[in-house]
Each structure stands twice: as C-alpha cells, then as structure tokens.
C-alpha cells in the first residue's frame, strides 16, 4: 500500500533520515519505533508533504508520487493526526469538520456533517457529539475528532503521531480495538510511539529507527521486547565513570517525601514521589520527556504547589521556597528548555549572565553594575566554558545552541553550589562540549556536591549516575543502582514503559 524507499533528509550537518525504508501493507497497523530524535517526525513530515526528501521515493498503491503539501497528501489518501491538534477550540466538532471539507463558502451543510459524525461515532463507539464544543471535550475525545476528520476525507493511510501521549490508560484500552476496526475496512495505520508495550498491543509489525537510520522491521508476533529494545537503543558503549563510594555518613542534602501534585492540562500530576540525594552523589532521573521531570523541578524550586508530601533541604523542611531562595540556599538549576526557562534570547550575553548576579556585592555598587568588574566577570564566565562567538554585546539568539547551553552552565555552576539540578545538560552540544559539562558535574560531585541529573540519554545516565530512578507518568516505576549488579536491559525495559520486575 505504502512504500517509502531510501528516504534521506539532512538539515545542514544533521542527518535526520538516512536511507530509510518503510513498507506498510493494506489493512495493517504498522508501528514506527524509536527514541526521541531518531527521525520519526522527519519521516512523517516528508510523507505528509511538509518536507521534501533529499533523495528517495514514495509509492502509494504501487505508483510513485510526489507529495508537495498536506493537501496533496490528503488527496492521495494520506492523513495525519498531529501531536498538536488542528482544532479550533471555540467551534463545535461539526464546525471544525466543515473546515476540512471542500465546498462553497457561503453555504453550510452542518446537518449532513453532523449526521456523518453521529454515524461514525456510533459505528466505532466513539462517543463524539457533533454539536459539542472542542474546548468541552477531553483530550482523548479531541483525538477521536481528528481521526473522524480523516475518515471524512476518505483517508486510506492514517498516521498517528504519539497518540498515547494524551490518553489515560482506560482511554488507551478502548483505543486499540478502535484502531483494529479501522483497518478491517482496508485502511492502514502508521502508529508512531516509543512505548514498546503499546506497539505490542496495537501493531501488526513495526519498523525501528535509530539516529536517522532504519534498523529493521519485525512482525510483532515473531519478536519480543528485548529484541526491539536492542534495536532501538543499541548496545551501549558507555563505561561508567570510576565511582567514588559514597561515604555512609554522607549528608542527605535533598529529600522529597511522598510528593504529589495536581495534574492539569499540559501538566503531569506527580504521584507519591520520594527520592533523595546525598552529598557526593549523582542521582539520575531517566524517562522520556513529559513524564513528570518538569514538575519535579518546579516543586523543588517552589513554583508548583504540592498536594501532599514535603521537600527537605539539609534536613530542614523547605516551606515558601522560591527560585531566588533556591539559589541562596546553594542550589543551581540548568533547565531542560533554555529558550523558555533559561535565557532571554533578545538580550545580550552579559545580561543573561548578570540576571542572577543582581545582589552580588562584587559586581554591584549602589544598585548599579560596575563596568570593570562586570567585564571581567563576563569574560571569565565565557572563557571558563569556552563559549565561542562571544562578545558581551552579542545577543543570545546569535549564539549556537551549544554555546547558549555553555553560557547557562557557566552562570549556574561557576559559584559555590551544593545541589545541582541538571536537566538535559548536554542537549544540543557537540562531543567536546558535552565532555566539558560532564567533567564539571563530576568535579561538583568530587567537591561533595549533590546532583540530580535528568536526562533522556541512557548513555549519559549510565556514565554519571550512582543511582538511576525511572520516571513514567508522574510515578517512579523503578530504581536501579549503577554498580556491579547493573543490568542494562532492565533499565531499558523500565524506560520503555514496563514495570520493574
């Protein structure tokens, strides 16, 4: 039904797809498996006409086609349900559907569309009311509306991009049979998900991508988790750093006990999170983005209210915490998404470095920054992490991503700190820079500092952490000690959504 042959696509030096093959049969649910950044989104954007491949062909129904826009893709019967739904919240389901139907502007046949929606909803037991407003629907229902949109346009190939990110477990249970019923009528589904359990639940076969290449295709009935995990992650070559044994009387610097938070739109609720970090210890938090990492950071900084539980800093219950107090108490934070939470892109490097130094008596006199002291400080900071392309009045946006991250690290780590939260610290950095960062983290550890390392990169976690906890859906699903008993497959299995055995 659908064949993508030898697709390659590069963005500058980044090879998003390298010679990728994908074959989807009629009436099949075909999974696309891979870690973040493996190339799944790029491949699908090419299929959907948002990007053009550098090389390779696409065949639909045996004919080679060129897809130049989402419109053309739809005409060929290829439809995609994006992670961010393309639904207008204030309009009803039926009204949203009319947006995608061709027809004269000055007319509206809401009745016909409403009837169709009711019909489909009945047929597949979807419980979607055509006159319901999108903003009143649950996220799961909204997703079903998106699928109905595609059915209305007679889509034969439906691509689902991480559909379960927004579904509750019970919604997921009803989702799989729905998908299977869709394929009974000859449709094919491409099911993108990094969660192994779901692939085994839903897909007939799946293709694994890693670092832009297609590693292989397996029929689900003929393979097992270990096989897929190995394909997804590859044998790790990371060698754990020489580990200092943590003194048994090392002070517990940070402790979270039974912390729970409320869940909301765009926020995962933490459920009974307990963890602690000792002096000289690196605690790794593993897990795919969006499983509670941001929420843990926010709780520690006092930006998110707890429903229950408490946080202790050095044995003292921390109430009324705030980001400034966190810094005062010796905390440092390297955020996961520096563009949103770390830096101001339109300001210059000096501004971004000095924003946390407003009360530093060495740099500030009578409320104003001393020019000479500031210049020295900024130069020192930039040099300490080898930030390239930097004169102080260059704006942040003009630096490369890697250099931006280095600046943030300089700001956070070049002072006396006790507890470091490092979230995705080497994201976007080249190998040399990443090494520098890791060296600094180890230095911090050697000086008796505690570190919480949040990362999606298994290599990094294995290299640095003393212990690794795995976060999934707001809960800690398992903890592994990074010592002689360490079992890589166990870790990978936990991350792929299973439960600790």
């Amino acid at each position: 039904m659908l064949k993508m042959n030898g697709i390659s696509k590069s963005f500058g030096r980044l090879h998003a797809n390298e010679n990728v093959d994908l074959i989807v049969e009629y009436g099949e649910i075909h999974g696309l498996l891979g870690e973040n950044g493996a190339g799944k989104s790029t491949l699908m954007n090419i299929l959907f006409g948002l990007l053009q491949p550098d090389s390779g062909t696409i065949e639909v129904d045996g004919k080679i086609v060129k897809i130049n826009s989402p419109k053309e893709a739809l005409e060929l019967g290829i439809g995609m349900v994006h992670q961010h739904f393309q639904l207008v919240p204030t309009l009803t389901v039926a009204e949203n559907l009319t947006l995608t139907t061709p027809g004269p502007m000055l007319q509206l046949d809401l009745q016909k569309i409403s009837d169709y929606i009711s019909e489909i909803s009945q047929k597949y037991d979807l419980e979607v009311n055509p006159s319901a407003r999108i903003s009143d629907l649950s996220v799961g229902q909204q997703q079903r509306v998106e699928i109905i949109k595609l059915l209305f346009r007679n889509a034969k190939i439906i691509v689902l991009d991480e559909p379960t990110a927004v579904l509750t477990p019970s919604e997921w249970q009803r989702f799989t049979p729905f998908l299977k019923r869709l394929t009974e009528e000859g449709r094919s589904i491409v099911f993108i998900s990094h969660k192994l359990d779901e692939q085994f639940d839903a897909s007939n076969s799946c293709t694994v991508l890693r670092h832009g290449k297609s590693i292989g295709t397996r029929v689900m009935a003929e393979t097992d988790k270990d096989d897929l995990v190995e394909m997804m992650v590859g044998k790790t070559l990371a060698v754990a750093e020489v580990r200092q044994t943590i003194a048994s009387d090392a002070e517990t610097l940070l402790k979270m006990s039974h912390v729970s938070t409320r869940s909301a739109i765009g926020r995962v609720g933490l459920q009974d999170i307990s963890l602690n970090v000792k002096s000289g210890e690196i605690l790794g938090i593993a897990g795919v983005d969006g499983n509670g990492q941001d929420e843990i950071v926010d709780v520690l900084l006092g930006l998110l209210d707890m429903l229950s539980g408490n946080v202790e800093l050095r044995g003292v219950c921390s109430t009324a915490m705030s980001p400034s107090k966190w810094r005062e108490l010796g905390g440092a934070l390297v955020t996961a998404d520096r563009h949103t939470t770390g830096v101001a892109l339109q300001l210059d490097l000096a501004d971004n470095l000095l924003v946390t130094e407003r009360h530093n008596p060495e740099l500030v006199r009578l409320g104003a920054f001393s020019k000479a002291a500031v210049e020295r400080h900024v130069t020192d900071q930039l040099n300490s992490f080898d930030v390239r392309g930097a004169q102080p009045n260059v704006t942040m946006a003009q630096l490369s991503g890697g250099n931006q991250q280095k600046l943030v690290l300089a700001r956070e780590m070049n002072r006396e700190i006790d507890i470091l939260i490092a979230a995705q610290p080497i994201r976007g950095l080249d190998i040399g820079a990443a090494q520098t960062v890791h060296d600094r983290i180890l230095q911090h550890r050697n000086n008796g500092g505690a570190t919480i390392l949040i990362s999606t990169e298994l290599d990094e976690l294995i290299k640095l952490s003393d212990r690794i906890v795995v976060l999934s859906g707001g809960c800690i699903v398992g903890q592994i000690n990074n010592d002689e008993s360490f079992n890589f497959d166990e870790l990978a299995g936990l991350m792929a959504g299973g439960n600790a055995t």
Binding site: P70, Q86, T90, G103, P104, M105, L108
Partner: protein, 353 residues
C-alpha cells in the same frame, strides 16, 4: 414622569444605527483576529467623503453612502496592508490611521470643502405598520438607513454562524493554525475582514454626515469609533451581543439628552441602578468575588437611599457620556472570566515550520 417613553425609544434607535453598523463591522474584523484602533478614523473618512460624494452627485443620499463605504474601505486597505500583509503592530498603525484620517479630512475640509451641505435624509414611513400605536413610531418610522443596518446585522450573524466563511473567520481569530492546515489563507481572510470593517465604519460615518445632518463638521464623529470598540467588547464579540451593547449605549445617550431638558434624574433611573447594584451584589456573593459584592452592594444602597429620600441628584452630562466606557470597564473587571476575546486577537499569524 418617566423619561423612558416613546420619544426616548425613537431617539435610541435612531442613535443606534451608525454605531451599530460600525460595531458590527468591527466584530467581523476582531473575530478574525484584527483590532482596529483606527475605527474612528475609518468613520471620519466615510463621513467626509460620503458627504463630498453626495454633494457631487446632486445630493444623492444613496450615492453619498456608497462613496462613504468605498472611502472607508480604502483607508481600511492601508490598515490591512500594513498590519496583515506586513505584520506591523495593529495598535500603532491604528493610531497612525486616526492621525491620517483626521489630517486628510481636516485638510480637505479647510482647503476644498468648507461649506458643502445637502438635504439630509428624512424618516421613512412603512405603510400600515407606521400607523400602529407606539410600535409604529418607534420601529416603523425610522430612516431607511436604520432598516438597512438591521438587515446588515442579521446578514453578518448569519454569515458568521451559518456559513463556511464564518467558520473560517472565527477560526482565524481563535486558532489560525487549524485554518491554515485546512488549506485556507489566513492572511487573505483577515484582509477581507478588515476591509469589511472599513466598509461598515465608512458607511456608518457617511450615515452621520449624509443621512443625519447633511453637513460635515470637524469632530463630528466625536468618539463613536471608540464607543464601537467598547460595544464589541461588551457584546462579547457576538453580533447580537453587540446589538444589545449598542442599544444600551444609545439608550443612555438618548436618556442623557432628555434629562438635560428635564433637569434632574427621575426615579425610574434609580430603579435601574438599584437592580443593577442588586444583581452585581448577589452574583458577587455567589461567586465569592468580594470586590464585586462590595461594589454592587454600595450601588444598591446608594440607589435605595436616593429613592427613599427623594433626593434630586444632578448628574453632569459628562458622566452620561462616560457611562458606556465605565460599564465596559465594570464588565471586564467583574466578568473577565466569561469575556473571552478571540484567542489570537492582535497576534500575527506566522506558519510554524
């Protein structure tokens, strides 16, 4: 003697018409995501060129109105090009438009057209219906322009809520990405809506000069453009809500004119403030909104006191003129959670790659 009589209603509806037309046009524009701070300028342009057109066409009212509409569209085209096409800031350009309109009309008025006058439009009388008691004079003996405006308002409602065009427009203001993904050109939709607002406001301005008084004066628009903006907000961006808001403003305006003649405020007015105060206080208590409850309560008590004592309060007419703005502020202050502007109002649409 209550001022809320037949004459008051007739005046209300007459005052409503131009304001309603401008506000309805602005609803369409804001629904698609564009805020026209320059609405006053649109109306002024329509007022001036409409009159000029009417005079050049031998005093033709219809001709004047038509020219006003076209002039409004022309200046709106400047706004649309600058903000929608080039994505300049909507508020800044709006201020510029007001200056431009003020300057151009003022300049041409001084240089070219100081003493143009035509005979203004007279009220029409719909046969049979205008002979009905009360309703006859209020509803069926207005100027033709009033009926035209009511037809336009209904047409706009129908278009926004019963056609695909309307859905596209509403989508452009609430979530343009979905409209773009569906294959429509958000820029084009917004451009069209701004032009429509210009046409409506231009027509409204022309109504003021051509149909109402037959001359042009400096400052004749007199803040109506801003009043229309307030009405759009108060009316919650819905044509019928705006109709109610404009009716409220016009009613207050007509009332103010009557009261200036009468002297002091009659009891019936205080009954209204009493009920408004009571309503605010009760809903404030229910919502646990302290500020609102206190405000409503004070208003209630004050009105009650005035009524019981029989106090003759003289309220400066400026308070009446400020009343629409105060009302809008109060609604925004106490009911902001339910007053939802189109989510992407004043937000330029850029396709994310």
């Amino acid at each position: 003697m209550t001022p809320f009589d037949e004459a008051w209603l007739v005046a209300t509806i007459a005052i409503m018409a131009p304001l309603l037309l401008a506000a309805t046009g602005e609803v369409v524009s804001q629904k698609s995501g564009v805020l026209n701070v320059g609405l006053e300028g649109f109306m002024l342009t329509g007022a001036f060129f409409g009159l000029l057109g009417a005079a050049s066409l031998d005093g033709s009212i219809a001709g004047g109105l038509f020219v006003g509409v076209v002039a409004g569209m022309a200046i709106a085209a400047i706004m649309a090009t600058a903000t929608v096409a080039f994505q300049a800031d909507q508020v800044v350009i709006g201020v510029g438009i007001n200056l431009l309109a003020l300057g151009v009309t003022g300049f041409l008025f001084d240089e070219v057209a100081s003493d143009i006058a035509i005979t203004q439009l007279h009220s029409a009388s719909i046969p049979f219906l205008s002979d009905l008691p009360f309703v006859g004079s209020v509803l069926f003996s207005q100027k033709v322009t009033v009926y035209i405006v009511l037809v336009i308002v209904s047409a706009v409602w129908w278009c926004l809520y019963r056609t695909k065009l309307g859905i596209t427009i509403r989508g452009s203001g609430d979530y343009p990405s979905a409209v773009d993904t569906a294959g429509y050109n958000v820029t084009r939709v917004r451009f069209f809506c701004v032009l429509f607002a210009g046409a409506a406001a231009g027509g409204a301005g022309a109504m003021l000069s051509v149909a109402e008084v037959g001359i042009f004066q400096d400052g004749m628009v007199n803040g109506r453009g801003f009043l229309a903006l307030a009405a759009v907000i108060l009316g919650r961006w819905h044509p019928f809500g705006v109709l109610a808001a404009v009716a409220l403003f016009a009613g207050a305006d007509a009332l103010q004119l009557r009261l200036q003649a009468q002297g002091s405020i009659s009891a019936s007015v205080w009954f209204i403030t009493l009920s408004v105060g009571g309503f605010l206080a009760l809903s404030g208590i229910r919502k646990k909104a302290i500020l609102q409850a206190i405000f409503g309560g004070s208003l209630f008590i004050a009105s009650l006191t005035v009524l019981l004592i029989g106090l003759q309060v003289i309220v400066p007419f400026q308070l009446w003129r400020a009343l629409p703005f105060l009302l809008t502020l109060i609604v925004l202050l106490f009911f902001s959670s339910s007053v939802k502007a189109p989510a992407y109002l004043t937000v330029h649409f850029r396709r994310k790659q």
